[in-house]
Each structure stands twice: as structure tokens, then as C-alpha cells.
Symmetry: C2
């Protein structure tokens, strides 16, 4: 038994010879196109079986110009958010006969640039990308110009005029914040990641950035503004996008002379890190602090207390992106569409009416709070 039994795989030509039919006829039979009489078909199939013929999809792709492969670029497959998305993509792609090449960008525009180029060179039929930077997309529009279908995931880039599948992060953050406000909270903190380039405005302004974190931060600010609450810059924390980052920012928050009475986090990593920090400080939730997380992951149900979170349809995000991409690949025309998938607030036990004697904290669990009912505190 040799180490390399590479016995040179049989090709269509070999099969044709073995079945004593023309080369093209064998090709048609095996490739499943054109027409071929039943007898001949049988002969060819038999020969193929005995020779152990396996088509070379690369050659096929070469000839057809279509690889039946999708490129997927996400920040980090270890992040459950992206893992679930990829699963959604994969579940749609495979039945349609597409394989998926997966690349992690770690939110680095440069990694993404390289990855996307490589994917294009590998002749993928389309690309799904959760863009790392919303202001650095030259590589993406380049692709687009070359006619490669591309679908944006989780983050839209309006200038790109590409299909996109997103959630309404602004509204989601706003609803969550409204809920906290309705519970009477006035000192509400947010733990978001540094990728939210939005400067903190005194008043609410539409988001300058369209990055996921920036949009959610904007929603948070908008809710505060609508309620007439001043923004305390100390309560807006931008963590490095890791559990450790969120951990330390949440810790810093509680070290404040005047700590917040509620914390909102903007993604599952921030949620985990912040929650761990609170846990380690033995801060009682919701008695001492209300907590509103983001992403309805399995573990949010089993911590104490179970976390109230913004639930987003993660799997569907991926599945929809894949469907959209397949549509484009099949030649669906029409201008780029942005699909906004619905989020919803999941109320578990981690928020409650603010305890320390705030006036006008009477409306409970009313979401969103009717404008004007909640008055500015200072």
C-alpha cells in the first residue's frame, strides 16, 4: 500500500473510451446536459461507475464561468452572532447547490479587502460580507463594478447601492432605552464598542456613522433626547470589542461617584462582558441595577436573573442574505434593496422600576413611553 496511491482520476475522455462513445456524448451524459439516448446513457454510466469517475468541478467552472461557490466574510466566526448567521447562509446555499467559503475579517478593513479580492479571484459567484468599516469600501464597489453580486450583512453602506440585510438597530436601541426610561431610570449607561465612531452629541442627531454600534448608540441617545434627559458623557462607554473590554468599562461605570441605575449593552459580547463585571462586583440585578442586553443567546436565559434583551432574528439575517444573493446570481435585476428584519424586546427579569426615590417614575413597563409623559430630571 503506497503512501500516495494517486492513481490519476478518470476523466470524461477515459469514460468515453471505455464506453466506446464519442467524447462529447460521454460529457453530455455525465454533465447532465444535452440529450443522449437511453442505451448510450446506460453504457456511459456503467463505464463511469466502473472507472470510478468523479467530475472535476473546477474544470466545469472553468468552462461555464460559474463556480457554485459563495464567499462569506464575517468579523469572527467564534462570535455566536456570526456563527448563527453563517448557519443561516449555509442552510440556504447548500440545497441550492452552493458551497460556502468562509473568511474572518476581525473587523479589519484590510483583512476584508484581501479576503474579498481573493474570493473574487477564486471566482465565487457572489459575496456576502458584514463590512468591517462603513467608510472604507473601495474594494467592495470595485467588485460591484466587475459585476460580482454582493450582499451586505448587518451593516448597510448606502453609498454602495448594494443589497443589504439588516435590523433597525436605531429603533431597537431606542425601544430598549425607552423601556428603561419608562421604569423611571434617569442615569442610564450604555456599553457599546469603540467601533461606534459617532461623536456623542449634546442633543440627539441622526447617526453620522452607519456602523452597527454607532446606530445603536444613536438610538439610545435619541430615546434619551426624546425623554428630555441630558446625556452624561461618563455614562457612554466605548469598550474594545471584546468581553474583557466590556468588563472593564462596565466596572468603571460602577466605580463612578454617581453610578448609573441602568445599563444597556449593544451586542452579545458587550452584554456578556458587562454582565460578568456586575456579577463579580456582586451587584444585585435588578434590585441595585437594571440591565438590558442585546442578542437573545441561549445563556441569557440561565444566568441570574435571566436577562431582558433585544432579540434579533440572527439566523434569518443569514438566510435572507443568502436568498437575496442567490436571486442576484440567478440574474434578478432591479435596484439594490435593503431588507430590514424586525427585532423585539424580550422581557425577563433583569430590569425593574428604579428604586431610589425618583419622582415621576410611575409608568411601568409601558414601551415606548408616550412622548412628554416623562419629564427631564434636572
Amino acid at each position: 500500500m503506497p503512501t500516495h496511491p494517486k492513481k490519476k482520476a478518470a476523466t470524461v475522455r477515459d469514460v468515453a473510451k471505455a464506453a466506446s462513445v464519442g467524447f462529447a456524448t460521454a460529457a453530455r451524459t455525465l454533465g447532465g446536459y444535452g440529450s443522449v439516448s437511453p442505451e448510450v446513457r446506460g453504457r456511459v454510466l456503467l463505464a463511469a461507475a466502473t472507472l470510478g469517475y468523479r467530475p472535476n468541478r473546477l474544470a466545469r467552472s472553468m468552462a461555464t464561468g460559474t463556480s457554485r461557490t459563495l464567499g462569506v466574510v464575517v468579523a469572527d466566526i467564534e462570535n455566536q452572532f456570526f456563527a448563527r448567521i453563517v448557519r443561516g447562509i449555509s442552510d440556504v446555499a447548500r440545497p441550492a447547490g452552493f458551497e460556502v467559503i468562509l473568511v474572518n475579517s476581525d473587523e479589519k478593513a484590510n483583512e476584508e479587502r484581501v479576503a474579498v479580492r481573493m474570493l473574487a479571484e477564486k471566482q465565487v459567484d457572489g459575496i456576502i460580507v458584514a463590512p468591517a468599516a462603513v467608510n472604507d469600501f473601495g474594494h467592495l464597489s470595485e467588485l460591484q463594478d466587475s459585476g460580482l453580486p454582493i450582499v451586505l450583512l448587518d451593516r448597510n453602506i448606502p453609498q454602495l447601492a448594494a443589497d443589504a440585510v439588516v435590523i433597525d438597530g436605531m429603533n431597537a436601541a431606542e425601544e430598549a432605552t425607552d423601556h428603561l426610561i419608562a421604569l423611571g431610570h434617569r442615569r442610564i449607561a450604555i456599553v457599546t464598542d469603540v467601533l461606534s465612531e459617532t461623536p456623542i452629541p449634546r442633543d440627539f442627531r441622526p447617526p453620522a456613522s452607519v456602523a452597527t454600534a454607532g446606530i445603536r448608540l444613536a438610538g439610545f441617545l435619541k430615546a434619551l433626547h426624546r425623554a428630555g434627559l441630558a446625556v452624561d458623557e461618563l455614562l457612554v462607554r466605548r469598550a474594545s470589542p471584546t468581553i474583557a473590554g466590556a468588563y472593564s468599562e462596565a466596572g468603571a461605570l460602577m466605580d463612578l461617584t454617581s453610578p448609573p441605575t441602568a445599563i444597556f449593552t449593544t451586542d452579545n459580547v458587550m452584554t456578556l462582558g458587562a454582565f460578568e463585571a456586575l456579577q463579580d462586583r456582586e451587584i444585585r440585578i435588578p434590585q441595585d441595577l437594571s440591565f438590558f442586553g442585546f442578542d437573545d443567546l441561549d445563556w441569557t436565559r440561565i444566568v441570574h436573573p435571566p436577562l431582558s434583551v433585544v432579540a434579533q432574528p440572527v439566523y434569518e439575517l443569514g438566510a435572507t442574505a443568502a436568498q437575496t444573493l442567490l436571486g442576484r446570481i440567478e440574474g434578478r435585476a432591479g435596484s439594490a434593496q435593503v431588507r430590514v428584519l424586525p427585532t423585539q424586546l424580550v422581557h425577563r427579569g433583569s430590569t425593574r422600576q428604579v428604586s431610589n426615590g425618583h419622582r415621576r417614575a410611575k409608568s411601568i413597563n409601558r414601551v415606548p413611553v408616550p412622548p412628554g409623559e416623562i419629564r427631564p430630571q434636572t
Copy 2:
């Protein structure tokens, strides 16, 4: 602006013409092989840049017979275990210039068979697979015969004589169980998944199956046996491999007339599901029940109490598999090697000395228990 600006990408031929050099010379320059004089190289590169030349890797693969692509087949990318593994693989593969095609098998041998075939037809240079069934591997040995390097992940198949990267699940389970025994527990339950085909022996026997779950179950049984404890079949629960499955089995366990005083779970899904069930029943851990989980995921630190678990080097599992595969692809000869990566027990707060008056429960936290010190109970 047309919808399909497919302006037909420039090829080596076009570049050669534009630079007025021979076709092969341009090819050598762009392909980075052979030799070419500096002036000519400059001309070619310039022409390539102005034409926006992008190599077609498919064509290159066709010509070289190597695709610089790896196939990876795991059960489910949504499972954090596999997500982390894939990250490990990817981190090793990409710097080496390999892309990764990812496929989910859902532990179904048939899905795996189809996937693996497709990957081979797509001419991947090698395959990493966490085999769904250890007794159904014809498709894998077929590949092997065709000379395609293949590395087994998480589960070995000795008959296959392929490289494999695994942990010593038997020993890990044994250590964890020993720990529980040392704490005086006599009624120790295990929640494992149905894929552990091992019949429950009265006494310990080496595992008939080499499936992951089967091995861990065997380790559990071995520890009981060594301690002279009889196996109560009611305490061996095989759940469907989902959170819900583990949830209901753990629940059933606590409904027993004589429930266990300790529970051991054999993977992260079982751990989550079982823990959730205990949580929902308001069973106090570790006061009412000791709990030992598997897989040191982030959330195990933030539940109450923090979970003691068997930690396995998940990322390294993937990275090592990739390194092994790359080695084979580069032609490293030698017989198949099985790499066993070390696990370790992480003690947090979820186990404690058994409370209800068992005799001889004096040795605490001694792991593993000295043979003979713990006597059979009945």
C-alpha cells in the same frame, strides 16, 4: 450605469498584448514564477495595473492541480465548540494561503458523505472532518485511496489510519467523575447524547464505540467501577443532542424517586440544557446537587454558581488539525498520527462534598481519589 457592467476581466493575454511582450512572459511575471528581466517586469506590471488585471485562481488551479482550498466538515457551526475549532483552522490556513470551505453535517453520515464528495470534486487540497459516524466511513477511506489528505477531528477512526487530533475524552470524564466520587457522591448521574452507542455495562469495559460521547461515557463508567460503585442505569441518560434534549433528561433525573446527588454532562450542549433544567426547578447548586460540566465556554463563568467544567483546548484542536493537514499537503510522509491534546479540570463553585449523611465522605477535593479509599456503598 448598466446593471451588469461585466466588462470581461482582463486576462494574461490582454496584459501581454498591452505590454507588447510574449504571452508566456506576462504569465511568468504575473504568476510569480520563472525569470523575467526588470524592465519587462515593470512594463507588464504597469499594463496589468492599468487593465485592472486579476488572476483567475480557478484557471491556475486547473493548470497546477492544486486549489489552495481546504474542506472542513463539522456537525454544526452554531455549536460554539465547532465555531472555535473552525476559527483555529482558519487562523492557520489563511496565513499559509489556503481558503476554507465550510460544511455542516448535523452529525448525519449521509450529509457528510455528500459533502465530502462535493469537496473532493471541487478539488480541495485536503479535508478536515469531525466524522458523524465512526462506523460509517467508506466515503472517507475512498477519499484517502484517491490520495486526498484527510484529518479527523475530535473523533478518531482507528480503522481508517488517518491523522487525527483528539482529546482523551475517557480520561477527562474519568477525572471529573473521580472528583465527584472524592466528594463523597455515590449517586452520580451522567447526561450524554444518544450518539454514545455504548451499551451500559454492569462493570466497566473498554468502549465499543469510539464516538466522542461513547468515550466520555466509558470514562465515567470506568471511574465508577474503579471506585467500586454499582452503575444505576436510571442515572445514565442519553439525550437527543440538543439543549432541549438535555433539559428534559436532566429534569427526568430530578424526578426520580431517588435522584442523583451529582450530575456530569459530556459536552457544552448537554451542560447548557441540563443546567437550565436545574435552574428552572430551583435546585440549589452545589447545596442540593453537585454539577460538573464539559467545555469551558464563556458563559460557564457567569452563571450561578460558576460551573466546574472539563476544559478542552478547542481552538488548538482546530489549529493543530490544520497544521497537520498542511503538513500532509506539503507532502510530509509517514504513517498516520493521532495527536491527543490535554484537557484539564477547572474547579469553580458547582460541586461540593455530598451533604446527606454518607459515610466515608471525608476526602474532599482530592483528585483523583486514591484507589481503594472510597468503598462501594451497598
